[in-house]
Amino acid sequence: MSLSAHADSQQAPTAVQSAAPAATYDYDDERWWSPGDTRTLPPHSAFSNEHGTLSTILLTSSGPTSLDTANHPFFTPLGENGRACVTCHQPSDGMSLSVTTIRERWRATNGKDPLFAPIDGANCPDAKPGDPASHSLLLEHGLFRIFRPWPPRNAEGKPIEPQFDIEVVRDPTGCNTHPRYGLKSAEPMISVYRRPRPVANVKYLTAVGFPFEPKNGLPLPVDPESGERMSGNLMADGRAGTLKRQAIDAALTHLQARRAPSESQLRGILEFENMVYSAQSHDRFGGELTAAGAQGGPYFLAQFAAGALQGGNEPIWLEFAAWLEAQDDNATPEQIEFRRSVARGARSFATKTFLVSDAAGITSMGFGNPVRNTCAFCHNMQHTGLDVAPGQVDLGTTNEPFAEPAPHLPLFKLTCKPGYRPHPHLGRVVYTSDPGFALTTGRCIDIGKITIQQMRGLAGRAPYFSNGSARTLRDLVDFYDRRYNIGYTEQEKQDLVNLMSVL
């Protein structure tokens, strides 16, 4: 690590008097933050990736800060398997975890890193230890096992009567038919496989832009502990409404803690989560993401207001609008062309309409099916691309017939019971590799809905979608193009890829 002023260090926004000089992490063993590591996390860490540089910063109301990670609960093993929160939320990977990093850890430790703990780092807990085939979903797709009780439980832990029956159709990992871990075990559970979501920029994740949830017409639920409304944007299946509940859930499952973290530990975790921002800060072609009037990178992100709805005169990704016509005498022709491509991608994202169809959550709430709109219809929160309303939407990444073929994943048959409305678009019988939000609510209409993710730091955390089905940003664009028959040109696709690579 070098603690010199990094070539990519960013211009400071007004409210931050000076951006901290970046500590650059050039080597794999420096990039990886092990549980129990006692290094100090500097105010600004810069990590290279295939698109350029990602920056992770620590910023409080007092300004940039560093963090002594020794004994800090986010960085310290809290359970039995040696993992800490940081294991799956690495500063180098936008506070998530790329499959590249996962493979590097396997290579460096011969599969001994706590990252590969059998509980969820293996395809099923009793898979043969040390065998890459036992961890194929993690090594090849970046997927961890998420095991949910069946039937679903409410916030108080009481069973919910589900509106549908569930059967296992395909079980390549053997976990859903396993006598101990499966659907018919003594403690019935469903195992699905998902990517870790980034723990950064959390003020956007918890922002409540409007008091009501348009997808069901009800006011957003209130956290009984804090009295604050819960945004509904935290987890893929919405099972935890607050950062605190998420931390407890993660400790008890992924970290195999015997008990929930203490109040002091939780406070430490939440304080850290609220100060960490992560975003791409430099592009290999475009250069500084704050150059020529752009407002990319984490410092700007840290200071924008969270929860604002895009639209009209303020379309999303205005951060890069200046690049459309920017004059920069110091820029190379390649830089100028790349920057214009990013700006075109931003404009296309907000303005190019297509028919959104069979996307329950959006097309089931009264807008009609289909409904003509843009990418920003769902990705409508300024600066992150989250959904200001809780973003539980069925994009078709997990539900048949729209999901990409995924022989490595389980397949479930869900049959809506008589007396309940069937799924609005898929009918009474739905085949899915991940029931998503329905594993939390037990409702037919929620089958396959996955909470929309933030779009920041994408360059550092491939693959994409909750099931890792898009290996690259181009795969992601191609999925949408096929799914909604958008008809993007090659140039439009590249513009969108370039946009997403600088977020």
Partner: protein
């Protein structure tokens, strides 16, 4: 302003301005009768920006195609719909069919063939955000001023549904909540109604079970609870809807409702 007036007003602002194609202006004598039928929706992919597509449906009894785009709920392609609406005094230039306004659409469980039409030079109804919409959280809410008296708010629902519709229900719910808060309501009656008297529409038997009236009342109570109103202040009941009154513009739709009565 009454709730029902609000529905009409909210729908009206979605209208595409008349652009001079008066080729099929509705017959004045026909305009006040309520059209009630079940049909299969067709989507016209007119592109005047986001949410601008046309929803058309033909009354099987007459063969006349209507434009039901201005309903607060839009159809789902491939599913039959129950339509109740009144022929509007406007031309057909937006979508190429006689406009119903006000109009209510209920998506039924019946399936039908999905069919889409090209724009064929019809612009569709350009989406305009209703003037009376939910404000962002950071906008301070103003409490209604006194005097406070018994006040009723009404929310209508689609057939066999307890779904609170976006850009309609939440505005009424918040307005009722603010009134209850300002008036320090001692009691809130929440009365769910269902259209339990069967009718035959386009050969289909249309009826609701009383249980949906209960579900509607409970949904509204859940909303109030999440807004901070104590459950003990709410008194829930549910009952079959009485026959529509003369002032109900869309009489069948009016039966599917919840009445919220605030007692200061």
């Amino acid at each position: 302003m009454s709730t029902r007036f609000f529905i009409v007003a909210a729908a009206s602002v979605l209208a595409w301005p008349n652009v001079g194609r008066a080729d099929a202006a509705p017959n004045a004598a026909d305009s006040q009768s309520v059209k009630l039928f079940v049909g299969c929706p067709v989507y016209r992919d007119s592109d005047s920006g986001r949410k601008s597509g046309c929803w058309l449906v033909t009354d099987p009894a007459t063969g006349i195609r209507y434009d039901v785009t201005l309903g607060r709920i839009k159809p789902i392609l491939g599913r039959t719909i129950l339509v109740e609406g009144i022929v509007a005094e406007r031309d057909t230039s937006a979508c190429g069919a006689i406009v119903l306004e006000p109009v209510n659409v209920s998506v039924l469980e019946g399936t039908c063939k999905s069919h889409m039409l090209p724009a064929e030079n019809y612009p569709g109804h350009r989406f305009v955000l209703p003037q009376d919409v939910m404000q962002p959280t950071h906008v301070p809410r103003e409490l209604p001023p006194p005097p406070y008296e018994r006040k009723q708010f009404t929310i209508e629902f689609e057939l066999n549904s307890d779904f609170l519709v976006y850009q309609y229900s939440e505005v009424i719910l918040e307005r009722a909540w603010l009134y209850a808060k300002a008036s320090k309501a001692r009691r809130i009656d929440i009365v769910g109604y269902a259209a339990t008297q069967p009718i035959v529409v386009s050969g289909e038997r249309i009826v609701e079970d009383l249980s949906i009236a209960k579900a509607r009342a409970e949904m509204v109570a859940e909303a109030f609870s999440r807004l901070g109103i104590e459950r003990k202040a709410m008194h829930l009941s549910w009952r079959p809807a009485p026959p529509a009154s003369a002032e109900d513009v869309l009489p069948e739709s009016a039966k599917r409702r919840v009445e919220i009565i605030i007692h200061p």
